[in-house]
Symmetry: C2
DNA sequence: CGAGGAATTGATTTCCATCAATGACGGTGG
DNA sequence: CCACCGTCATTGATGGAAATCAATTCCTCG
């Protein structure tokens, strides 16, 4: 595992902590893999996904800086998904046993924080189920944009409705259950209708109201 | 809330515990509702769902006897989904504060159990995302059948590949993102091809291999 | 017996997939 | 510097899976 990760000496600061770099498009963890560490994404974008034996791939969620790969893996050592770097990323791995000891020593403060993280993940998953089960192509893509915009805005200051957005159309397709060709058509329609423009890794929102009307799910 | 639940005297055994009955098709909790209690399904089937303002409805999961409405709601008092009884059911409500106190008093034993429950929920949600994003109508329905069969088999002894299965075709449709009409056609095809027969609330599996080939997702 | 929900079946339409060709870049090496 | 290449995006033509519309049958239950 981590076959192609690039370790850097200066990051090895503690025996229970472990930083490394992964370049864009490289896989970070594989489904079914076990690991004595839990991971946090420190910089860049990544995504979690499932892959079927026949090659079909479903992106489950995108990971942004600060995200745990998944909060629930504090108590489980086998991954049930794979993770791939979207951009070049920095990852921090921490010994599970160490983290667990610290968490269990402070249950009253740690438990709600963990629960909150799990709960947010679960809520996002369930909203995605609704989007996939109920919504049209346009609605799904609008939903994905709004969901990611909110998460980005929670971390960064956004100017002029412009968001750094390193997704290829193929990633959007794999996240919302469409083909890349159809994603291209929908994005073209969004541009033509003055709703949003995703080009060159930047998402520019031209008509937030309309985007919300399509993708709010609320 | 619980506007139409039927409370029964004999069940009021403790001040922090609270049993009641809900008849088929009645809603048990509403999205956005808060509650000082956490709930366990004691008998019958129910389902969790999201509903959009325009009326579209997505079933998130089915609840079987023994299921918590959702493990993560130990730490949160606002539901992010609604629950409806599929059959007549018995529900047990327990004071959240009471349960929480007991859990936090025994973090080393309770935390992994809770985590396991959350993890199972999350894994199921993510597999459903993959099914909706990647699979055909036949594959999705086969997946739903296999998933529920496994959960039923964990609780009951199953004879001759026959499972009590109180779902209407409309429920299947709302769970896997299809219309009831199309579900009818697929179920008809399953019968014609000797794969499975769902009639009168009983699912009979005629060719498990083929059902697994369609719906295993593995 | 009649009423209403559930399932089935047929006809048609719609949305998205598929197949295929082209253009726009950005890097690479001669 | 520019020909070459691979990746990504776009666009058109066609096909297919599931939705929609509509009619009929089958139950169950009052």
């Amino acid at each position: 595992m981590f076959g192609s990760r690039e370790k850097e000496g200066p990051f090895e600061t503690q025996d229970w902590q472990n930083h490394f770099l992964v370049s864009a498009s490289k896989q970070v963890v594989a489904s079914n893999q076990t690991s004595p560490e839990v991971y946090v994404l420190c910089s860049g974008w990544a995504f979690r996904f499932l892959q079927l034996p026949d090659g079909r791939k479903q992106i489950l969620s995108f990971l942004l800086p600060g995200d745990l790969f998944s909060a629930r893996y504090l108590f489980e050592d086998r991954f049930h998904f794979s993770v791939k770097a979207l951009t070049a990323i920095q990852v921090s791995g921490m010994k599970r046993s160490e983290v667990l000891t610290r968490v269990l020593a402070q249950p009253v403060t740690a438990a709600p924080a963990l629960a909150k993280s799990c709960s947010a993940d679960a809520e996002a998953s369930e909203k995605m189920i609704a989007a996939l089960g109920l919504c049209s192509a346009e609605e799904r893509i609008a939903y994905l944009f709004l969901h990611l915009m909110r998460r980005i805005a929670d971390r960064n200051v956004i100017r002029e409705h412009r968001y750094a957005f390193p997704l290829r159309q193929q990633h959007i397709a794999e996240a919302v259950g469409l083909t890349a060709v159809h994603v291209s058509r929908v994005l073209g329609a969004f541009r033509d209708r003055g709703i949003a423009d995703l080009s060159n890794g930047v998402l520019e929102v031209l008509n937030l109201r309309e985007l919300q009307r399509l993708g709010s799910l609320a």
